[in-house]
């Protein structure tokens, strides 16, 4: 199944390339040679098409690592229970969205871009193309009109406004550009939480056991409200802002990776195992799978503060990534 999907992706990319070639030839016929040449080289940039395709894929197809754990969760639930019923509908929905190339969930969420780029990269120009692609994707229905002016309540900006989309740039040592995209729905964002250790009520101290306790507390408080079964991204440390940013970055990790820090690896496993004993289950109906995964990262902190920031991702875990090759055409899919 995985292979097939990749093949389709390639096909789509190829189609786009062919389209462009046709456009080029027609133009050549219409205008003088020299002028066309210039235009053709300029026009060659495939960034807009690549970003639009990235948005389409992210909104309509769940990546393999996530589909795999969703299926595992389905098989784990007992037959003829409400939990199995919910997981079956989730599975059918994932398949249908892919087939129809329509959004998996109608809440297409906060649009989070993570861009790793080489030295000398022009962030402002890139941002402009991102905005164009987001508007187009909204017009095409891959994204819902989902960005509201916080003061007037108006929703007219086609997902481009202050803070939307949310683009994070990082310079890396590699030569190519890597773009990751995550669509994070409102229901699951609402059950995220930030704790300050020590937490007296939970008897949680300033150590890993304290961290464990507050994460579990967040799972119990979330119940099924974040459209569980979900995945947690957690950041230990940082200030309040950096902590939440890092917790979302943890959701960019592959679900089947292993944390290189042995204590954090243990913590991640412990959280998933313990949460699944809670019996909250899919949608909070009760059942064996409450969490599909937990990813924990660390930032330094001030001696005076100890934050634990938790982002909850729903089962509709939409994230994808690409590396760009020549002329910004999609070279590789990352998930």
């Amino acid at each position: 199944m995985a292979k097939k999907k990749k093949a389709t992706k390639k096909k789509v990319a190829k189609k786009k390339v062919t389209k462009k070639k046709v456009a080029k030839t027609t133009k050549k016929k219409a205008t003088k040679k020299k002028a066309t040449k210039k235009k053709a080289t300029k026009k060659k940039d495939g960034l807009f098409d690549s970003l639009l395709e990235l948005i389409r894929q992210t909104s309509t197809v769940l990546p393999d690592d996530i589909q795999k754990v969703v299926l595992e969760a389905l098989h784990r639930e007992e037959k003829n229970t409400t939990a199995e019923y919910a997981m079956n509908i989730i599975k059918a929905n994932i398949e249908l969205a892919e087939k129809k190339s329509q959004p998996i969930c109608q809440d297409t969420g906060t649009i989070l871009f993570y861009v790793n780029h080489p030295e000398g990269f022009k962030q402002n120009e890139f941002t402009k193309v991102v905005h164009k692609a987001v508007k187009k994707a909204t017009a095409l229905g891959y994204l819902r009109q989902n960005s509201v002016d916080s003061l007037t309540g108006k929703n007219e900006c086609m997902n481009v406004g202050p803070g939307h989309p949310d683009i994070h740039f990082h310079e890396h040592k590699k030569k190519h550009i890597e773009v990751k995209l995550m669509l994070k729905g409102g229901g699951c964002e609402n059950v995220g939480a930030q704790y300050k250790l020590p937490d007296v009520g939970l008897d949680a101290g300033r150590d890993l056991d304290g961290v464990r306790k507050v994460i579990l507390d967040a799972v119990v408080k979330a119940q099924g409200k974040g459209c569980g079964p979900g995945v947690l991204g957690v950041a230990i440390g940082g200030d309040r802002g950096a902590g939440y940013v890092k917790s979302k970055e943890m959701l960019l990790r592959k679900l089947d990776d292993t944390n290189s820090h042995p204590d954090l690896k243990k913590l991640e496993e412990n959280i998933v195992e313990t949460s699944n004993k809670f019996g909250i289950g899919p949608m909070g109906f009760g059942g064996k799978t409450t969490l599909l995964g937990c990813k924990v990262g660390v930032l330094n902190r001030l001696p005076a503060s100890f934050f634990v920031s938790i982002s909850y991702m729903c089962w509709a875990y939409r994230r994808q990534g690409i590396t760009l090759g020549n002329n910004n055409i999609i070279k590789k899919w990352l998930y």
Partner: protein, 188 residues
């Protein structure tokens, strides 16, 4: 698996219990924040809601070339926002079912018991599966509230839900909350 078909009857709603998996066929009306607020402020509903079902949903509806409405996505929205108003709609207009996600609180549960209504939990995020179950869009009311907030009259077939609050005081949400909190405490 249980089935309920339109026209819905209060007695059959009284038969439903927490944990029942139900397929609903027939009519339902969407209604979310703005509709509930307007009803609460005293405006009469444009349709007779007696023995009807309200769906907490802001659907994406498009008009096709012939002017026919088509539902593109129709997943449930979070219900708890209607907690202050829902029981009044049961008392004043006689609804027998509420569909949404995330469950509702004690006021609604009491309303369900008193007036004979249940809370059906749809699968959050399953926009495509649920949209397929909507066979037609029959009418729209209060369109001035904006498309997602308007009352859409829908005909559905085998619309899948789970009863999580029944008319006998049972709430799956309260139960799961309590048992999970207990296990959590044991693991502290």
């Amino acid at each position: 698996m249980k089935k309920i078909n339109y026209p819905f009857k209060r007695e059959e709603i009284r038969d439903l219990r927490v944990g029942d998996m139900v397929l609903i066929s027939g009519k339902m009306y969407t209604g979310r924040d703005a509709v509930h607020k307007r009803l609460h402020e005293g405006t009469k509903p444009p349709i007779d809601l007696n023995e009807q079902i309200i769906y907490h949903c802001g659907p994406v509806v498009l008009k096709d070339k012939k002017g026919k409405y088509e539902v593109k996505a129709a997943g449930p929205t979070t219900s708890i926002r209607e907690e202050p108003y829902q029981w009044e709609v049961m008392r004043d207009y006689g609804i027998v079912g509420v569909i949404g996600k995330g469950g509702m609180g004690p006021k609604t549960l009491e309303g369900c018991q008193k007036y004979g209504c249940v809370y059906f939990h749809a699968i959050g995020g399953a926009a495509q599966v649920l949209a397929e179950k909507i066979k037609s869009v029959d009418n729209v009311y209060w369109e001035d509230l904006g498309s997602p907030e308007a009352i859409w009259e829908l005909t559905v077939e085998d619309f899948p839900v789970v009863v999580t609050m029944d008319s006998h005081g049972g709430s799956l949400h309260a139960k799961v909350q309590e048992s999970s909190e207990n296990i959590f405490k044991e693991n502290l």
